[in-house]
């Protein structure tokens, strides 16, 4: 292949491969670039220290930091905002919670009305427009789940292609408790294969899952699904280790390709008729800023950045002297897998306008990941014989069930991404500076959801229940910065995610999100990227490019 392509896609994580696959299937020549390496199954060993607690998936803070400026605090170098830097991106190490956004998430401004201090807007597209692409994602990569999740389950056109994963028997406790509280707990949809699918092995139910790559490829990452499928067309060239330094422009309203540095330090240029940016929200904004502020004519680039609110509730279920209960709780199954969506909108009045999802699960797998929270709890910690005793109790005399909550993080004018004026990365380029403000609603919704989760855990028979991370957010789920909209004065890309002022430049990752939804966004990123790919394909047929 030459260095001229019909399409260059920058970013091989969640947002890039669906576009690359769609266009390669249509006969376009595609280059798919990612700055990170291409891992194989052999790389995914059970090495908790190196893989889950160090820098296996993200760049070093010393060479490629983000600078985080939380309101009222000094700037600090951080790895926050990096999801992953490898082919497949965060889909390689994700837990694979694959919920669809609810229809009201696309009309959030209409549903909630004006909220002071928030920059809410409706999406220019509806759930119905995205629905076929949600189905395509589930089919293409393999998603396991159960269709009937109660009133707040988004409308579905068919069953999931795979049945739910097997659950730990303690899921019955959550089911019954939720039911008594007037809710429905249903199997969490997962991008993990419950059966063999598409030539890939089903899940082996190992304990080290979220935060790790799957050693048998049962996790439905784009690395194992869409990227090989794109290569199989013979039209897609995948280039790992390619750090794109800038997007080149050929005219006021057109881009001409990209310049990148390979893993050996050599510089290259690729020409393309269409360029698609999908580097994850923070880095996509940074690349567009580094390329002369593409799409920033109205100062909107980097604005309306969002994350997902995150809070937790924990329940400790003691074995006690009840042999039957102890035996059930000691079951070795790794997945609890229960979700509750009944608090997507609050049931009672109050200061919370929109809620989110409860995801019941076991604590992060791995002996270190579970033991450290036993020592470090809140602002204090245990040590010495007290810690050893607590560890004995944790590991031998109880089973802990957690609940992670995901809620709407309100876009606000104080949360944005820009280029840092001081810090540069290993390539000599300014790094992304993430400025974070907090809307009071974020704290309220995270508290509200943690309280609901705690109620269910208490009802389920937990001997001790506590909450944590109230007011927290997960920067593993960045969104916004290239907001999608029909009005170029208040958005960066149009409804097919084409940059307003550029005819052949698209963005296809979470940066185009208008609101953060009440569930993790990965499924929606993939679905929207398939939609963007289809729009570009249709443009080729119309000879737009």
């Amino acid at each position: 292949m030459t260095d001229e392509f019909d399409v260059v896609v920058v970013g091989g994580g969640a947002g890039g491969p669906p576009v690359a696959l769609t266009l390669a299937r249509a006969g376009a020549t595609v280059a798919l670039l990612d700055r990170g390496p291409r891992y194989t199954l052999q790389d995914f060993v059970h090495d908790e220290v190196r893989i889950a607690r160090r820098d296996f998936f993200v760049p070093l803070v010393g060479t490629d930091p983000h600078v985080v400026v939380a309101k009222g605090r000094p700037p600090r170098r951080s790895r926050e905002g990096w999801v992953a830097s490898c082919l497949g991106g965060g889909t390689v190490h994700m837990s694979g919670f694959f919920y669809r956004f609810h229809p009201l998430d696309f009309r959030v401004r209409d549903v909630l009305g004006p909220i002071p201090g928030a920059s809410l807007a409706n999406w220019p597209i509806s759930y119905e427009e995205l629905q076929p692409y949600y189905a395509q994602v589930e089919r293409e990569i393999g998603v396991s789940g159960e269709s009937d999740g109660g009133a707040w389950t988004p409308p579905r056109e068919s069953d999931y292609p795979l049945p739910p994963l097997d659950n730990h028997p303690a899921a019955d406790l959550i089911d019954a408790a939720a039911s008594r509280l007037g809710c429905i707990a249903f199997p969490t949809p997962r991008a993990i294969l419950s059966r063999s699918y598409g030539g890939r092995s089903s899940c082996l139910y190992g304990h080290l899952c979220g935060g790790f790559g799957c050693e048998v490829g049962a996790k439905s990452s784009t690395l194992r699904t869409l990227i090989p499928a794109a290569e199989k067309t013979g039209k897609c060239r995948v280039i790992p280790g390619a750090m794109v330094l800038r997007i080149n422009s050929s005219a006021e309203d057109r881009v001409s390709g990209v310049a990148y540095r390979d893993a050996h330090g050599a510089d290259h240029e690729l020409r393309a008729r269409v360029v698609v940016v999908a580097c994850s929200a923070i880095e996509s904004v940074r690349l567009l800023l580094l390329s002369g502020g593409l799409g920033n004519a109205e100062g909107q680039l980097g604005q309306h950045v969002m994350f997902s609110t995150l809070s937790k509730a924990h329940g400790s279920f003691h074995f006690r002297d009840d042999a039957g209960r102890a035996k059930m709780l000691r079951d070795d199954a790794p997945f609890l897998g229960r979700s509750v969506l009944d608090y997507y909108l609050p049931r009672a009045g109050g200061d919370v306008r929109k809620g989110g999802a409860l995801n019941f699960l076991f604590p992060p797998a791995g002996p270190i990941g579970q033991s450290i929270p036993v020592a470090l709890r809140g602002s204090g910690f245990r040590w010495g014989r007290e810690l050893k005793q607590a560890l004995r109790f944790y590991w031998h005399e109880q089973k802990q069930i957690d609940c992670e909550t995901f809620g709407e993080y309100l876009a606000n004018p104080g949360t944005r991404v820009e280029l840092d004026p001081d810090v540069r990365d290993q390539f000599g380029l300014p790094v992304a500076r993430i400025v974070i403000d907090r809307h009071p609603h974020d704290d309220a919704v995270s508290r509200y959801l943690a309280e609901r989760a705690a109620e269910i855990l208490t009802e389920a028979g937990a001997d001790r229940v506590w909450k944590s991370a109230i007011g927290g957010r997960t920067m593993h789920l960045p969104m916004g910065g290239c907001r999608m909209g029909d009005d170029p004065r208040s958005s960066v890309v149009d409804r097919v995610c084409r940059v307003h002022q550029r005819k052949n430049l698209f963005v296809s990752d979470g940066s185009v999100f208008v609101s953060s939804g009440g569930v993790p966004p990965t499924h929606t990123i993939l679905a929207n990227a398939f939609r963007v790919g289809a729009a570009i394909r249709d443009g080729f047929m119309r000879r737009d490019w």
């Binding site: 990170g36 390496p37 291409r38 891992y39 790389d43 995914f44 060993v45 059970h46 090495d47 908790e48 220290v49 190196r50 893989i51 607690r53 160090r54 820098d55 296996f56 998936f57 760049p59 070093l60 803070v61 010393g62 830097s85 190992g206 304990h207 080290l208 050693e215 060239r237 995948v238 280039i239 790992p240 280790g241 390979d262 893993a263 050996h264 002996p367 270190i368 033991s371 450290i372 020592a375 470090l376 910690f381 040590w383 010495g384 014989r385 810690l387 050893k388 560890l391 004995r392 590991w395 031998h396 290993q426």
Partner: protein
């Protein structure tokens, strides 16, 4: 390209071996066969056959005796030195530690940190702690990694402060105190009266996290000796276990793509 007058320097192959050794794959050019030796030819083996055929019986017995004595002596020597010869596991791990390039801890602070680790995660009669699991060995190795140099500096500063507090309040360095004395100094460093309470708490938290990592990580990292850390909490680590520390290949070339 090869240079020099002897491009195909002859290398004896191992006895009874018809295949090329490691590094001599199918793509490796064969040397010219100067002597037309039969496959599997071994000079030592052929020499022994010739010697035995020409030797008298008494001489043969004497040779046998000498060989037996040599064998017994060799075995005795091997048994004496068995550990350094056969314990390749440690040496293998060290050689794999190519990314641990930093300097070792200064001796004074090393002693303080080791003692602190053993107090934070004490050995008990029925439960191994930092000492039994070799957690501090893990910590020392980790602190040599380039990306943990800021943690290393923070821990050295913390050790100096803790040691200073021990000298001021108990008249001896932290590592020299008995268990009870060390526990009191740790508690005092984080008490509300402490001037450096916040720094001390961060310091102890760092040590706790590293210590637990050392107790419960794969033994290839230098801690969790004989997996007794996992055993103590009833954890079974399933395969695939790492045969070397997993390493990110950020920035390294890939053959794919």
């Amino acid at each position: 390209m090869r240079n020099g007058a002897e491009p195909w320097a002859w290398v004896e192959e191992p006895c009874r071996s018809n295949h090329h050794g490691r590094g001599g794959g199918a793509a490796t050019p064969r040397p010219p066969d100067r002597n037309s030796r039969p496959t599997g030819y071994c000079p030592l083996q052929q020499g022994m056959v010739h010697l035995l055929a020409t030797m008298k019986r008494r001489s043969f017995l004497a040779l046998l005796l000498a060989a037996s004595a040599a064998l017994v002596g060799g075995l005795w020597w091997l048994l004496r030195h068995a550990k350094p010869l056969w314990s390749s596991r440690g040496a293998k791990s060290e050689s794999l530690w190519s990314d641990a390039t930093g300097a070792a801890l200064p001796p004074q602070q090393r002693a303080v940190l080791q003692a602190l680790c053993e107090r934070l995660l004490p050995d008990e009669e029925d439960s191994p702690g930092a000492r039994a699991t070799g957690a501090f060995n893990f910590i020392e190795r980790e602190l040599m990694r380039p990306e943990l140099q800021s943690v290393r500096e923070r821990l050295i500063r913390g050790a100096i402060q803790l040691d200073g507090l021990a000298v001021r309040t108990r008249g001896a360095g932290f590592a020299e105190l008995d268990v009870s004395g060390q526990e009191r100094v740790i508690a005092a460093s984080m008490s509300r009266e402490s001037e450096n309470r916040r720094d001390s708490m961060l310091f102890v938290r760092d040590m706790l996290s590293l210590g637990l990592e050392g107790m419960l990580s794969d033994p290839i990292h230098g801690g969790n000796k004989d997996e007794i850390g996992w055993e103590s909490i009833g954890y079974t680590m399933r395969p695939p276990r790492p045969y070397r520390p997993a390493r990110s290949s950020h920035g390294e070339a890939s053959d794919d793509g």
